[in-house]
């Protein structure tokens, strides 16, 4: 299995293939579309990420010392971004996550072009993950 940093690097490379923003978004959208929907009983307030215009749920689960996440959103772009985050952190140990630093967001230029509003949502999501593993 790749490390957190390797997965981030992988994502950066995937995005570098797209020359324009439309394509990058198309890619994110597709990811969002392909993610399976979260069953309704997980869509509770406790799993909701604060600070987003759209609603995003993030459901953590511990198995064999590792953390797995399920996620969903009513907006497809948010869902695609949540997908990327989950892909990076899924199946990691608490230690791996707490020691990690996210760099892919900046490198693919998401934050710069994401709205502060959305950047805040993203930050909240990452924040919530780090707090889960504390």
């Amino acid at each position: 299995m790749k490390t957190i940093d390797q997965t981030q690097q992988e994502i950066v490379e995937e995005f570098s293939m797209f020359s324009d923003w439309m394509d990058k978004y198309e890619y994110i959208i597709d990811m969002g579309k392909n993610l399976e929907q979260l069953p309704d009983d997980f869509k509770k307030d406790e799993f909701l990420i604060p600070g987003c215009q759209s609603r995003v749920w993030l459901v953590p689960e511990f198995r064999d010392d590792k953390v797995f996440f399920k996620t969903d959103s009513d907006a497809i772009i948010t869902k695609g971004i949540a997908c990327l985050i989950v892909r990076i952190f899924n199946g990691r140990t608490k230690e791996e996550i707490s020691k990690s630093k996210l760099f892919f967001i900046e490198k693919i230029g998401l934050v710069q072009n994401l709205s502060p509003t959305r950047a805040n949502g993203l930050a909240s999501m990452v924040d919530k993950i780090y707090r889960y593993v504390k």
Binding site: W21, K33, S54, R55, I76, I77
Partner: protein, 407 residues
């Protein structure tokens, strides 16, 4: 019709800018309008030539700045045809105007008194009354809307009773674009001796308002939606009502005399203008009104109406669209909609990448969203500097975005 659209567009420097290397298509003027050069330059010129704190100095600059500030008051008076210039109070905006009335007129209310608002109000006309409820046990009654997105006037009449002390409704809904029949609303209230506050935030630059003809008791609006700077707004109030109300904020300029034992307050309008006001903002408002008058409110309304009809006709043809609008006669150029199965935020985000600025979300009308059964809408709004070509591009881009986003 507007004679020279190119000239008008040239007046607004921001319309020439690009976002992500694409020409800006600004369809969010209902949130805040762009500013013409004359407004931008007037403020710069003021600071370069006439700036000084107003009302307090005997020297030239202070007198000049005071004169400019007071000329704006008179300009606003004329614009809405108020009887006296001291009925014009400068505020930060619509929100502060309503808060002022809720707090200060609210002081005159008693437990059990009732205030009527409507289901399509902006938070600015809901929350101040709820805050007042923490101080007084007043009751807030709500006029429902019909399936046609209009105020239910029959229901309104039934809400009125002996305890009703104020009716406070919006002239034009910032989400639906619905133009409410405010003359009727006022007449019904007055027949019961109830004063009326009209939130004109969305109407002041779209329709001529004559406060004496309407006989409205309070009128509030914001400069930033009518081509002036942000941070300035107007509360109009009838002299006798304003005279009865206690001051809202305390400080310089709003006093006659101050002692630790007994402070007396200044006459209108100073009584409600504590501290250093946003006088450069006020001066920008004068220029903005002159700009509107030069083009003519009638022509503006007519042109904006055409834009609206054009946009609605095109949008109606889109598959899966839910338009929160029906009657075009009762409507100004604010259009809210959703596309089935697609989140409004996704649409806004993608349109943005094409240079198009629309608003998405609840538009500060969450109770209305709940009524419509949605978490938000996409809202496009058009004013005098928008074009038919922009609408074409907007609808085409929307189609493209929908194709990308739909499952």
């Amino acid at each position: 019709m507007i004679d020279n659209l190119n000239k008008i567009r040239n007046d607004f420097p921001i319309l020439k800018t690009k976002v992500y290397d694409k020409p800006l298509v600004f369809l969010d003027s209902a949130a805040s309008s762009q500013k013409p050069d004359c407004v931008i330059n007037a403020v710069a010129d003021f600071y370069k030539r006439h700036n000084a704190n107003i009302h307090r100095g005997v020297y030239f600059l202070s007198q000049k700045a005071t004169a400019l500030y007071e000329e704006t008051r008179v300009k606003v008076q004329q614009f809405i045809n108020a009887k006296y210039s001291h009925e014009i109070i400068f505020t930060r905006g619509t929100t502060e105007g309503i808060n002022l009335v809720a707090s200060s007129f609210g002081d005159l209310l008693s437990d059990g008194d009732e205030v009527i608002i409507s289901e399509m109000e902006h938070h600015a006309n809901i929350v101040p009354w709820q805050l007042l409820q923490k101080r007084k046990k007043i009751v807030i009654k709500v006029i429902p809307i019909t399936s046609d997105f209009q105020l239910d006037i029959a229901a309104y009449k039934k809400l009125i009773n002996q305890r009703t002390k104020l009716v406070s409704v919006t002239h034009i809904s910032n989400t639906l674009g619905t133009i409410n029949p405010i003359q009727l609303i006022i007449d019904i209230a007055h027949a019961n001796n109830i004063p009326v506050l009209i939130d004109a935030a969305q109407s002041i630059h779209h329709k001529a308002i004559d406060v004496q003809k309407l006989d409205v008791d309070f009128l509030v609006f914001s400069g930033h939606k009518m081509y002036a700077e942000t941070g300035i707004g107007i509360l109009y109030g009838k002299e006798d009502l304003l005279n009865k109300m206690p001051p809202y904020q305390g400080g310089g300029d709003m006093i006659k005399d101050v002692t630790f034992e007994q402070t007396t307050f200044a006459e209108l309008p100073q009584k409600f203008e504590a501290g250093t006001t946003n006088y450069s903002g006020a001066i920008s408002l004068k220029v903005a009104i002159e700009y509107i008058e030069k083009i003519g409110l009638d022509k503006i309304a007519c042109y904006e109406g055409k834009l609206q009809d054009y946009a609605i006709a095109k949008l109606r043809k889109m598959p899966d669209i839910q338009l929160y609008t029906t009657s075009k006669f009762n409507k100004t150029s604010v259009i809210s909609f959703n596309i089935k199965g697609i989140h409004h935020e996704d649409i806004g985000t993608m349109l943005d990448k094409m240079g198009i600025a629309v608003r998405t979300g609840g538009h500060c009308t969450y109770p209305l969203m709940k009524k419509l059964g949605v978490t938000g809408t996409v809202r496009a709004s058009f004013v005098l500097y928008n074009t038919f070509a922009e609408i074409d591009f907007f609808v085409k881009s929307l189609q493209r975005v929908v194709n990308m986003l739909k499952n």
